[in-house]
C-alpha cells in the first residue's frame, strides 16, 4: 500500500482537484484506492458524492484508541474507489490528536490495518501546517504538492522541503504545475523554470474549465469529460506517479 498526501501550506492551489482526479485515474489503472478527506470543508467528500458525516463521535471517534477506519469507509460513484469522508468536527482534529499519546504517528497507525485492502491511499490535506498535516506526512510515501506558477512558488516549495527534511521515514516531495494559464507569459516562464527541478513531475495541469466543472458535476473530470485536456493531464500525471511508485 502506497500513501500519497496531496498537500501544501497554501490554500486553493488544486490539492483536492489532484487528490480526486488522481484517485479516479489510479482506480482506472487497476489500483484499489481510498481517498481520505482530512479537510473539514469536505470538498473531496462533496465531489465524490458521499455524505459529509462520520459515523459515531466524529473526529474524536475517528482517531480514538479503539477506532478502526474501515467502519467509516464509503463507496463512491467511481467503481472501485472508496472514500473516508470528512466531517465538520475535523476542525478539532488537531486538538484530538494532541490528546493522544502519539500525536504524530496516530494517522499512520490507523492506516496500518488497511494495508492489504488498498494499493493506494490518497490523503486530501487541508491547507497550512498543522498536526494533521504532520501526521499525514508521517504516514506518506509521497507528498504531492500542486504548484501554481507564481513568483512565490519556489518559496513555498523550499518551506515544504524544510518541513520534510530530516524526517524518518521521509516522504518524497514531488511537485506538479497546477492551473497553468498559458496565455500569461510570466506564468509560462515560471512553469518552465519549475519543470527543470528534479522534484517536479513533468506533467502540467492547465487551467481548465473542465476542472471548474467538477463542482457542479460532482465528480472527477474523467467521469463527465473523459477526453478533456484536463482528464488527459491527470491520466499522464498518475502515469508518472505510478512509475515512481511501482516502476
Amino acid at each position: 500500500m502506497k500513501v500519497v498526501a496531496s498537500g501544501s501550506i497554501k490554500g486553493g492551489v488544486g490539492k483536492t482537484a489532484s487528490a480526486v482526479n488522481l484517485a479516479a485515474e489510479a482506480t482506472r489503472s487497476g489500483a484499489r484506492v481510498l481517498v481520505w478527506d482530512l479537510d473539514p470543508q469536505g470538498s473531496a467528500t462533496y465531489l465524490l458524492r458521499v455524505e459529509h458525516r462520520l459515523a459515531g463521535r466524529g473526529a474524536r471517534g475517528l482517531i480514538a484508541a479503539d477506532a478502526t477506519l474501515a467502519r467509516h469507509v464509503r463507496a463512491t460513484m467511481v467503481t472501485g474507489l472508496h472514500l473516508l469522508p470528512s466531517d465538520r468536527s475535523l476542525r478539532f482534529l488537531d486538538l484530538h490528536l494532541d490528546a493522544t499519546g502519539d500525536r504524530h504517528r496516530r494517522l499512520a497507525e490507523l492506516l496500518q490495518p488497511l494495508h492489504d485492502a488498498y494499493d493506494v491511499v490518497i490523503l486530501d490535506c487541508p491547507a497550512g501546517a498543522s498536526l494533521a498535516f504532520e501526521g499525514a506526512l508521517r504516514a506518506s510515501d509521497v507528498l504531492l504538492v500542486p504548484v501554481i506558477p507564481s513568483t512565490l512558488a519556489v518559496v513555498t516549495l523550499a518551506q515544504l522541503e524544510d518541513l520534510v527534511a530530516g524526517r524518518k521515514p521521509r516522504p518524497e516531495l514531488l511537485g506538479h504545475v497546477s492551473m497553468l494559464d498559458r496565455r500569461k507569459p510570466l506564468q509560462r516562464e515560471i512553469a518552465d523554470a519549475l519543470l527543470d527541478r528534479p522534484d517536479m513531475l513533468r506533467t502540467v495541469v492547465p487551467n481548465s474549465t473542465a476542472i471548474e466543472g467538477m463542482g457542479p458535476e460532482r465528480g472527477p473530470v474523467t467521469a463527465f469529460a473523459p477526453n478533456s485536456v484536463a482528464a488527459r493531464a491527470y491520466r499522464a500525471l498518475w502515469g508518472e506517479l505510478a512509475d515512481r511508485l511501482w516502476g
Partner: protein, 522 residues
C-alpha cells in the same frame, strides 16, 4: 461480505422482480456480458486467494477490463484499451499490462507462470444500485439471465448477485434475508466459480506429479504400472502447454514425469516385459534427450540476473551479445521440442503407453518377477542403488578426476528417483528424512557439474560468435570473467565434497535407510 450469489429458476423471476422493485433497486438496462476466468496451470492465483477475470461487453463500445478480486477488499479494475478482437486471449501476458499495482500483484502471485483462460461464460446482465443520501451507491445488485456455461447443461439460468458496498452492510443484510425467505439459495463463490464447478474444472489446477499409494505386498508389476500411470498423466497434462511453450514450467513438469518414467523403466528388469521395456526405454530416452537443452536454457535465463549479479555494469553490458545468442539457441531448442512433441513418433508413443496402461492387469505381460511382492523387489533395487553410491563415493579422493563425481551424481540420481517413486512403501516420514540427506549430497554434485557445463557453454558461445559477429574484447573478457567465477564455484563445491559425502556416509542415515528397507520388504 463482498458479494453473495443466488441461483434461481425461471419460476422465481417474478419474485425477483417484485423484490428488486420493492427494495428500490430497479433493474438497469440489459447488457450482454462475457466473462473469462484466468489462472495459472497450477492454480497459483486460487492458492493466493485471488480471482482474475476479463470482462467484455461484445455489443458495446466500451473497453474490456480485467477484474482482480481478493478475499477481502474492493475488486481492482483495469480497462484494457487495445483489446484483441472477439475472443478472449488464451494467455494473459502480464508484461503487456501497464506498470502498477495490478501487474505487481499478479506477478507476485504467478512467478514464472502465465495466467491462462479457463472458462468463458456469457449472460445478459442488468445492474441496479441503491444510492446513499449524497448519491453514491450503498448496494449493487446484478441480475444475470440467459447464463451460458460451456460444458454445463444449458438451462435458462438466472443468477442474482448482491454486491455489498461499504456503508451498505445493513441494507445488504436485509436484502439477503429477504431473498432467502423467498426461497432463493446462496451458493459459495461468484458466478464464475459456480461455472467452474458446473463445468467440472478444479480451481486448484495441476498439482504436480502425484506419488500414488502403492500396495507393498501386491504384485510388483501392478505397482510399477501404477507409478507409470501417474507419470503418464502428469506428462499428458503438460504436453500441450509445453508444445505451445506457454511458460517454462510446463516443460519442467513434463521432464520431471519423463525422468521418473525412465527411472521406473530402468528399474523394471524382470518385472516388465523385456521387449516392451527395451522399446519404451529407447523412446523415453529420446524424449528426455530432446527436451534437455531447452530446459537448460530456460534455467540459464531464469538465473541470468543472479549469475551476472556480481559483475560490473560494464561487464554485464558486454555480455549482451552472448545473452542474445543464448536466447536464439533457446528459441531453436524450444522449436525442436515443439516439433518433436507434435511428431508422429510422439503420437505413437503416447497411444502405445495409453493402450498399455488401459489394458486390464490380467492381459499385461511381465518379466520373471512380475508377480513377486512389490516391496521386496523395490527394496532390493534401492539397496543396490545405495551400494553404488557408497562404493563410488568412498573411492573418490582429492586426486580423482571430475568424471568420477559425475558418475557418483548418476548413482545418487538413480537412488533418488527410486525413493521418489517407491520410498513411501517404507514410511513417508522416513523416506523424507533420507531424501533430505541425499539431497544435500546431490546439490553439491549438481553445483560441481553444472557450473562446469555453464562455463564451457559460455566459452563455446563466445568462440562461435567471434567467427561472424563483431565481438569486442570487452565481451570476450566478460565471458572469461564469468566463466572463471563459475569455475571458482565449481572448485568450492569440489572442496566441500568430502564433508558432504561424509555427512551422508554416516551410521545415522544408513540406519534410516536400513529401517526403510526392512519395513518395505516385510
Amino acid at each position: 461480505m463482498p458479494s453473495v450469489t443466488y441461483g434461481t429458476d425461471p419460476g422465481s423471476r417474478q419474485v425477483l422482480d417484485d423484490l428488486l422493485h420493492e427494495t428500490g433497486i430497479e433493474s438497469g438496462a440489459p447488457h450482454r456480458l462475457q466473462r473469462t476466468r484466468y489462472d495459472t496451470f497450477d492454480g497459483l492465483l486460487h492458492a493466493a486467494g485471488l480471482r482474475l477475470e476479463r470482462r467484455s461487453w461484445p455489443q458495446e463500445s466500451c473497453d474490456d477490463e480485467l477484474v482482480l478480486t481478493a478475499e477481502t477488499g474492493v475488486p481492482a479494475h483495469l480497462p484494457l484499451t487495445d483489446p484483441p478482437p472477439s475472443e478472449p486471449p488464451r494467455v494473459l501476458e502480464l508484461s503487456a499490462l501497464p506498470a502498477g499495482p495490478m501487474r505487481t500483484r499478479l506477478a507476485a502471485a504467478c512467478g514464472v507462470r502465465v495466467p491462462l483462460a479457463q472458462l468463458t461464460l456469457t449472460s445478459i446482465r442488468r445492474t441496479g444500485e441503491q444510492p446513499g443520501p449524497a448519491g453514491s451507491p450503498l448496494l449493487r445488485v446484478h441480475l444475470d439471465t440467459e447464463v451460458a456455461i460451456p460444458g454445463a447443461p444449458s438451462a435458462n439460468r438466472t443468477v442474482l448477485e448482491v454486491e455489498e458496498l461499504p456503508g451498505g452492510e445493513k441494507l445488504a443484510r436485509r436484502l439477503r434475508s429477504r431473498l432467502e425467505r423467498a426461497g432463493l439459495r446462496p451458493f459459495a463463490g461468484d458466478l464464475l466459480e459456480r461455472g467452474m464447478a458446473l463445468a467440472g474444472i478444479d480451481p486448484k489446477g495441476f498439482e504436480g506429479l502425484k506419488t500414488p499409494a502403492l500396495d507393498r505386498t501386491g504384485p510388483a508389476l501392478d505397482g510399477y504400472r501404477t507409478v507409470l500411470q501417474a507419470c503418464f498423466e502428469a506428462m499428458e497434462a503438460n504436453w500441450e502447454g509445453t508444445a505451445d511453450h506457454l511458460d517454462i514450467e510446463f516443460l519442467h513438469d513434463l521432464r520431471i514425469a519423463v525422468r521418473r518414467t525412465r527411472s521406473v523403466l530402468g528399474e523394471g528388469r524382470q518385472v516388465l516385459d523385456p521387449e516392451q521395456r527395451r522399446h519404451l526405454r529407447a523412446e523415453f530416452a529420446w524424449l528426455g534427450r530432446l527436451t534437455g537443452p531447452a530446459r537448460d536454457f530456460d534455467v540459464y535465463f531464469e538465473e541470468w540476473d543472479e549469475l551476472t549479479g556480481e559483475l560490473s555494469p560494464a561487464s554485464r553490458r558486454a555480455l549482451l551479445p552472448v545473452r542474445s545468442e543464448l536466447a536464439l539457441r533457446r528459441e531453436q531448442e524450444h522449436r525442436r521440442v515443439t516439433e518433436a512433441l507434435r511428431s508422429e513418433r510422439a503420437a505413437q508413443l503416447r497411444a502405445e503407453v495409453r493402450a498399455w496402461l488401459d489394458r486390464p492387469e490380467i492381459d499385461v505381460n511381465g518379466g520373471r518377477r512380475a508377480l513377486a511382492g512389490l516391496g521386496k523387489v523395490v527394496a532390493a533395487r534401492i539397496a543396490a542403488a545405495q551400494a553404488g553410491v557408497l562404493e563410488d563415493g568412498r573411492a573418490i579422493t582429492e586426486e580423482s578426476p571430475a568424471t568420477d563425481l559425475h558418475e557418483l551424481r548418476k548413482d545418487a540420481k538413480r537412488l533418488r528417483y527410486l525413493l521418489d517413486s517407491f520410498g513411501d512403501l517404507g514410511g513417508q516420514k522416513r523416506r523424507r528424512t533420507i531424501t533430505r540427506h541425499l539431497k544435500q549430497l546431490q546439490d553439491n554434485l549438481g553445483e560441481h557439474q553444472d557450473t562446469q557445463i555453464q562455463a564451457d557453454e559460455l566459452r563455446e558461445v563466445a568462440a562461435s560468435l567471434a567467427g561472424h559477429e563483431p565481438v569486442t574484447a570487452a565481451t570476450t573478457a566478460a565471458v572469461e570473467e564469468l566463466a572463471q567465477m563459475l569455475e571458482a564455484r565449481q572448485q568450492a563445491a569440489r572442496a566441500e565434497f568430502g564433508d558432504r559425502f561424509a555427512a551422508y556416509d554416516r551410521p545415522g542415515p544408513h540406519r534410516e535407510l536400513d529401517k526403510l528397507l526392512t519395513r518395505m520388504s516385510r
